[in-house]
């Protein structure tokens, strides 16, 4: 009798203990089921932005400020790079794509196949800064021709010393740092310098993280690299900025930033874009509200995050473009260095 009692007692303790966590798990499952309600409704109020790491801080600033005036708005911003952002955009996964270069023909075709019409709006200007190590005192100014000699795909494993670029330069090893090949900065730079997007030498140190490039150039005495202007501005004391010769043969720097606004730092200043899905704009009021806010206010925060405002007349024109709902790309065949007010 006593044995039986003991057994049943011990059995009951064993019986109950595993049940507790299980009950907890079950209730959690139920709970998560409840939050899963009304998915379509949630999607309606969401605005998703993705794309270039370069334009990301602008969209982020707008989303942050928009959240202050519209606390119930559900805005998400990601930075998968221009290429990654546009491919998500053309798959219909997001409403707005940030881009640091114009959309390409291939991407337009993909979008078309999926039935995605888009509105292209330039929202800010940026410069590409050519940078060298602080110890470099001989590279003050480079022409596009010299840059092409450095970065051309034909130079792979051939142009390895500074004196091969220009005989006045010392015989020092040329170490190169640049953005990875799926970034908009890479596309724009190769197009401006080598004449064809994505045509670049391959024996350089690439990174998606431009801070890595800054660190690389700052720590390597004979290095040269190119980054978005904001990365130079935040690391002025660690780097030398190289001037680039404009088509008239004048050496120009991207600072002061008026040189970018007035298109003096050509062809290495570029517009940054947002691509807006026409369908999202027409069917989701939250997207239209957000885009209106974007165009109305983004100029206030552009310079805070390291970019350059558009000229005033350009803002008026892009607002008109949004109202008219004009789809397609005007910029895809524009040569690097053309002032954007002429295109709009």
């Amino acid at each position: 009798m006593s044995i039986k009692q003991e057994m049943s007692q011990s059995e009951s303790t064993f019986d109950k203990t595993p049940l507790k966590p299980l009950c907890l798990l079950m209730s959690l499952m139920l709970l998560s089921g409840v939050t899963a309600c009304s998915r379509a409704q949630q999607e309606q109020s969401q605005v998703s932005v993705d794309g270039a790491a370069v334009g990301f801080p602008i969209s982020l600033a707008v989303a942050e400020e928009y959240h202050k005036v519209q606390p119930e708005a559900q805005v998400s911003v990601a930075s998968s790079g221009t290429g990654g952002g546009i491919s998500k955009f053309c798959a219909g996964e997001i409403d707005i794509a940030d881009a640091s270069r114009p959309i390409t023909d291939v991407e337009i075709a993909t979008c078309k196949k999926k039935g995605i019409a888009f509105i292209e709006l330039p929202i800010a200007l940026d410069g590409i800064a050519v940078i060298t190590n602080r110890a470099n005192n001989f590279t003050q100014c480079l022409s596009i021709k010299e840059l092409k000699k450095i970065w051309s795909s034909k130079s792979t494993n051939k142009v390895t010393n500074w004196n091969q670029v220009n005989s006045n330069f010392p015989n020092q090893r040329l170490k190169l740092y640049g953005p990875a090949s799926d970034t908009g900065t890479f596309d724009y730079f190769t197009r401006a310098v080598n004449g064809k997007a994505k045509a670049s030498r391959t024996d350089y140190t690439p990174s998606h993280n431009e801070n890595i490039l800054v660190q690389g150039v700052a720590g390597d005495k004979t290095a040269l690299g190119y980054v978005g202007l904001s990365y130079y501005l935040q690391n002025r004391n660690k780097l030398n900025l190289v001037a680039v010769k404009d088509p008239k043969g004048q050496c120009q720097k991207p600072v002061p930033i008026e040189n970018i606004v007035k298109n003096i730092y050509a062809p290495m200043s570029r517009p940054l874009f947002i691509y807006i899905s026409k369908k999202s704009l027409d069917t989701k009021p939250s997207v239209r509200k957000f885009v209106n806010y974007y165009l109305e206010n983004s100029h206030k925060w552009v310079d805070q995050v390291g970019y350059v405002e558009l000229p005033q007349e350009a803002y008026n024109k892009i607002k008109q473009m949004l109202v008219s709902g004009e789809t397609g790309s005007r910029f895809k065949s524009v040569k690097p260095g053309q002032p954007i007010t002429k295109v709009l």
Partner: protein
């Protein structure tokens, strides 16, 4: 006496045996020292990580609102609330999804499945899956959850993908734990006339729970720290709202990754602060698991 010393053909004859206690003790000391160094290598690396991260991130961590506000474009303002909640929900969902499935699979393999060559084959394959890089699971999740099941880049897709990532480790460790349950326990239970299921539920499982939880701790910590698969799934780096199950989401590893790519130097400190939060979050989840483990250990 003969029972205690097992017969050994290789034992040397007594006259050749030289005690040389000093030499043997010395060798023993040397190994003790080597193992101590091995322990310190791990501890020093951990300490360095903690010191560097705390030095960079502690100040930012203590600024008001870092844990409770939504992110900002300024490195020294705003907070990381959506990322903390995102990572917390991901961890919770991973546990909820993987523990029943993983333990179930382990129990079947260990208690029910006939011991055949294909059982071994399955075991080897599951162990192999535990070593697959997380980005591969990310691609699988992108294809299955994002596109095929149509969840899109949502929290549930991320949680399911991380569950796939964690499942092999949980199955392997749960299997080991179930295997370690002494057979005498099962036989005693059968001897009282219980069914197989009663034996498993009342005796095998409670006995195995500490071992199972160790596996859960390891795999959930891995899942929470994983960025590669979530990047593929489409976790975002900025949200103005708390993530829901079918909404876009943020997670701490993604936030950290994004912060270190930003030009402003202050973001490096914010990233360090976010790393501290991630470590604490893993500590909390693990602490809960360890607490449950201790409770079950005391039943033995």
């Amino acid at each position: 006496m003969t029972n205690l010393i097992s017969p050994n053909d290789f034992q040397k004859p007594a006259e050749e045996f030289t005690p040389d206690v000093e030499k043997r003790e010395k060798i023993g000391k040397i190994f003790e020292l080597l193992f101590l160094i091995a322990l310190y290598v791990g501890l020093v690396v951990l300490a360095l990580l903690l010191i560097v991260v705390l030095k960079d991130g502690f100040f930012r961590l203590t600024t008001p609102g870092f844990l409770t506000e939504t992110p900002s474009r300024f490195p020294d303002q705003g907070g990381i609330r959506p990322a903390i909640l995102g990572s917390f929900f991901l961890g919770l969902l991973v546990i909820v999804i993987t523990v029943p499935i993983g333990v179930g699979a382990a129990l079947y393999l260990e208690e029910y499945a006939p011991k055949t060559w294909w059982g071994n084959l399955i075991e080897i394959n599951i162990s192999n899956l535990a070593g697959v890089p997380s980005i591969v699971y990310g691609l699988l999740g992108l294809g299955v959850f994002n596109y095929f099941l149509g969840f899109g880049s949502t929290l549930i897709s991320g949680a399911l993908t991380l569950s796939l990532l964690s499942l092999p480790i949980i199955i392997v460790t749960a299997r080991e734990a179930v295997r370690a349950v002494p057979n005498s326990l099962r036989e005693a239970s059968y001897g009282l006339g219980t069914t197989k299921w009663q034996t498993i539920w009342n005796h095998v499982l409670p006995y195995a729970i500490p071992g199972i939880l160790t596996g859960v701790i390891l795999s959930v910590a891995r899942a929470l720290g994983d960025a590669a698969s979530l990047i593929v799934i489409g976790a975002v780096s900025f949200l103005t709202f708390n993530p829901g199950l079918f909404q876009r989401f943020m997670a701490l590893p993604i936030l950290i990754y994004n912060y270190i790519t930003r030009p402003e130097p202050g973001f490096a400190n914010a990233a360090a602060a976010a790393i501290i939060v991630l470590l604490l979050l893993i500590l909390v989840l693990n602490g809960a698991a360890i607490y449950i483990r201790q409770r079950f250990s005391s039943f033995k």
